[in-house]
């Protein structure tokens, strides 16, 4: 019980329940291409994106998310470079304030068999294309899971995420995704903290109680005992009361 309560102290005293975020590698496309390892005991899901001038979503592959099953959710993203065509398209979409969408299939991170993992449908999210362009393709993708490890949502933000209309050099900045990917599982909400409170109350009680207890019985009630003794002595030396005399007769 003791170590458990001490961990509670840590949470409460900081009293900031932050996000459980396990960030994976920040890959850039070039390194990852030859870096895909097949021996990771996980599985991969496709990450797809869509950006169109007419705003009708047509998703195509952006990369692969490598997910490691189990408690430690290791997550890696491998993605290719943005092609010349895509780059100009992205700039066009940004110019008309279109949307940049991503989607991932609904999967379970916990179950072991591949067949169980896949669920019907996709999870989608979006940002404004201009913010992606202006941030030079640096985005943060977070996968959200529920208690049992199902993916329930995906979110994407760019840093910075504002559109200020800044000019972007084509070749240099719009080629490589600078992505931070993470998995976010629900945090455990704290229960009422009783153990510590009781401990605190007991400490206070002890502090209050101790000085009184140190006094011995005699030290506390000496005057009563003395008074009683004097009274007893006085009564025993005196004459028997009149009532007793009457009874005898």
């Amino acid at each position: 019980m003791a170590p458990l309560s001490s961990s509670f102290i840590a949470i409460i005293s900081i009293s900031i329940v932050g996000f459980y975020m396990q960030f994976g590698d920040c890959n850039n496309g070039r390194r990852v291409v030859d870096n895909v390892e097949s021996d990771i005991t996980g599985f991969s899901v496709p990450l797809e994106h869509s950006f169109e001038v007419d705003d009708v979503p047509r998703f195509r592959a952006r990369g692969n998310i490598q997910l490691k099953a189990g408690r430690e959710n290791g997550v890696f993203l491998s993605q290719a470079l943005l092609s010349e065509k895509d780059r100009s398209l992205l700039k066009d979409v940004a110019a008309v304030d279109g949307l940049y969408r991503i989607r991932v299939p609904r999967v379970s991170l916990q179950s072991d068999r591949q067949t169980d993992r896949q669920l019907e449908g996709y999870l989608t999210a979006f940002i404004r294309a201009c913010s992606l362009v202006e941030s030079h393709l640096s985005d943060v993708i977070t996968l959200h899971t529920d208690v049992s490890g199902y993916l329930i949502g995906v979110s994407i933000v760019t840093v910075p995420s504002a559109c200020r209309g800044a000019e972007v050099e084509d070749e240099v900045d719009l080629e490589i995704f600078n992505t931070t990917i993470g998995v976010m599982a629900p945090v455990n909400a704290p229960a009422p903290e009783t153990a510590l409170y009781i401990e605190k109350m007991e400490q206070e009680m002890d502090k209050k109680g101790k000085p009184q207890e140190q006094k011995s019985f005699f030290a506390k009630y000496w005057y009563l005992i003395l008074g009683g003794a004097v009274f007893l002595m006085a009564t025993s030396s005196a004459q028997p009361p009149a009532g007793g005399a009457r009874e005898q007769s």
Binding site: I9, I12, S13, S15, I16, V17, G18, F19, D55, D97, L99, R101, R106, L119, G121, Y122, L123, T124, A125, F126, I127, R128, S131, V140, T142, H144, D146, V147, S148, Y150, I152, G153, S155, V157, T158, V159, P160, S161, A162, C163, M184, A185, P186, V187, N188, A189, P190, A191, P192, E193, T194, L196, Y197, K200, E204, K207, K208
Partner: protein
Amino acid sequence: MAGQLAGFTVSLCLLGFTVAVFEDQVGKFDWRQQFVGEVQFALFDTHSQASKKLLVATEKNIFASLNSRTGELFWRHVDKMGPEGHIDMLLMHGQDAVVVVGNGRLLRSWETTVGGLNWETVLDTGSFQSAAFIGLQDLVKYVAVLKKSAISLHYLSNGHQKWVENLPESDTVQYQTVYSGGNGQVFVLGVVPNSHIVIVEYNIEDGEIMKQNSVAAPWMSSLKSSCVVVGIGVLLCVDPTTESIYTLPLQSEEQTKMTPILLQTLGLEMASGFQPVLMSTQPHPARPPLSEFFLQLGPDHHILLQLKDGHISALRDFNPSYLVSFATTGEKTVAAVMSPKNETACSINLFSADTGRRLLDTTIIYYMDPNGGKPTKLYVHAFLKKDDSVGYRVLVQTEDLVLNFLQQPGRVVWTREEALADVVTMEMVDLPLTGTQAELEGEFGKKAAIQDGLLPMVLKRLSSQLILLQAWLSHLWKLFYDARKPRSHVKNEVTIETLSRDEFNLQKMMVMVTASGKLFGIDSKSGAVLWKKYLENVQPNSVFKLMVQRTTAHFPHPPQCTLLIKDKDTGLGSLYVFNPIFGKKSHISVPALPRPVLQSLLLPLMDQDYAKVLLLIDDQYKVTAFPSTKNVLQQLQEMASSIFFYLVDASQGRLSGFRLRKDLSTELIWEVVIPTEVQKIVGVKGKRANEHVHSQGRVMGDRSVLYKYLNPNLLAVVTESTDSHQERSFVGIFLIDGVTGRIVHEAVQRKARGPVHFVHSENWVVYVYWNTKSRRNEFSVLELFEGMELYNSTVFSSLDRPHPPQVLQQSYIFPSHISTLEATLTEKGITSRHLLVGLPSGAIMSLPKMFLDPRRPEVGSDQSREENLIPYSPEMMIRTEWFINYNQTVSRVRGIYTAPSGLESTCLVVAYGLDIYQTRVYPSKQFDVLKDDYDYVLISSVLLGLFFATMISKRLAEVKLLNRAWR
């Protein structure tokens, strides 16, 4: 340490959260109305002539006694909700009322004068069929309860069981009726559908079966709907297919065949497709029923018949007639018949039951409310007048659950609006300005200023000043006039005409929508119903959403409310647009909604007439705008790319976000799916649109600022686990941005179960759940902060907020269940917030939000004291001085509505459930109001004194200076 703690306690006491009222303030700012719901049984106390008691048992499982002179409640017993507390039967004998509760679970006897319980008996299991008093030699001593497979007889005096007998062949025979004519036998009648009737005769004394008989009746399906016992034990049944009445004497020896009497021989004809209804009367349970009875042949056609020597004769034909009822006083039995008089009125007449003659001077005219429904039930209270003639009063219940009590010649003694026992949703609307205020408004209106030049403006100003002067003079005159009158006469009635906004906007119009489809406009100050409107053809399981499209602020445009009525099964919706102040239906054309409505959205956009735009999204994700003028469509086109909405499909666990396109179609932009195998969505709440947050952050002990994460688009989604095992069940909290679909925070409360109540406001979410492990209710609070720096302090955009907020959370034990939860709301959001907690006990507790603060430290430090943080203690106390409704308990509180008033310190609160309670709360006390006992005399005398003192001292100083100069 101890000293510090003591110091802290003192400072806590100084803060003082007392919201209690003084004795003389009771009822000054608050009122309560108590209701009973739809009446199912109503009985008048005919025991004594002067009795004022009216006993009612209602659909809401309430047994109550009303004062028949005033309509007020004498007493009321609120039983459990649902079938467990359902009142199956109400019988009354003398001073005692016998009630069967919960499908024959309990038999209770109540003393009717004070409402005390005489006795209660738990009955054997089995579904309840019928109950009746059993009399013997003119004395009523027993009550018989018929269950599906047994009959039991109980003493009326103490509830003890006299005997209980199993019914023969109860698995095939449906026993439905129990009857006794008061001569020692109890008849139990059962039917085997489309085969035969079974009659079992029991001996009252020992429950022995005296006789058992079955009679062929292949046409009969149910006894209850088509049979009655008339006269000296003759069973009458009506068969709609052959249009005939069958008679069967119960007591005679040769019970073999039922004798048919064709209705045609009586010259009667039945309305096609109508199930005819028979109605008889048994004035005294120890005597046989009368031989006269009513037969209802059509929806508006009744006939009074008499059975004599096996022959039926018609006494009087009532065509048309809406409702009929028998009543007995003394030895006389009368029949009351309600028949239509003209379009707006009905007449009720009394007829002698044994002859069918109309009694003279017994007409009551009943005026139907044009905004109400048709009468559905008629209860008659007959009494003997001094000259031995029969007088009567009637209780009429209508479709829209109005109880009207009338007496001759048509005076409404009292009216009760029982629809208000089931308020579904409500809004509070500001009252309009008075004529003079409106005049001023008109003068400075935009349009006027543009049209007129300088000189007309000056003239206009002068004229409006004159009008103001005139109004002031008339007000003074009225004050003077009223002052001369005695106090009791001054109390002026609130009517729609005299309604106007008060100085601090404390009096508002409460627009209430009830489950029966009736709308009410109630004055929040007095509780008086100022207007009502019954919406016919509203399905009973409809969902209502009330929106204020235009407030009273846009004179001369009238305020406008829109009610979206959605059928729960089909999802088809309709709109009802009305003026919330006068209750009149608006003439604005309403868009037709041919497809089911999924979501409605009230935009802050306004059309040229200042009506907010309402968007309705149908199941094909097409958007309908209302109003849909050119101006609105143009605005929508401009704004389309920044109008987002979300849909929640709880059955699939799917939350999806959409964006509006220029052509009013939509596109899907995000999707979050919470698998339904694990958890199901039980609630989604955004923030209230009219909520203001005054301070952007919190000042910490070290003078730095912790900024709040104030995302107006944030949704709080609460889920419950499908696994209900106490170790594995959990409650999930998701905070999702409604525009981007980003999950901002995700938390799981383990070993928790619903029902979850939650409030989402400012930067916090408070929720209540049941802890399955510790078996207790717990509060949990989540607060979101941006941190020490604000990302973009000028404007908030969900699309531009890359950093997730910091989330703090803390939980507390709460020692009671709760019924509902709401937060106070004030005009500018400066006043500290309180949570209003509706408890099942009927109390409403105002709990300072300060106690629900995740930053409460475990051990107090100087910094936390600087910040006024209370050290954490896991248990939240219920302090009775926090009850804002002192002893005015609100039964079965279902919702609390809060509205800001014109005073920043004051929040208006309405709690509704079975009762309605309205009051004001002052979360930070009345910091902007002078107290009632403010000493004006003292302050003005001090001021005057100081003024004169300065004058005198100035004079003296001058004299002194002069003297010095001379020296």
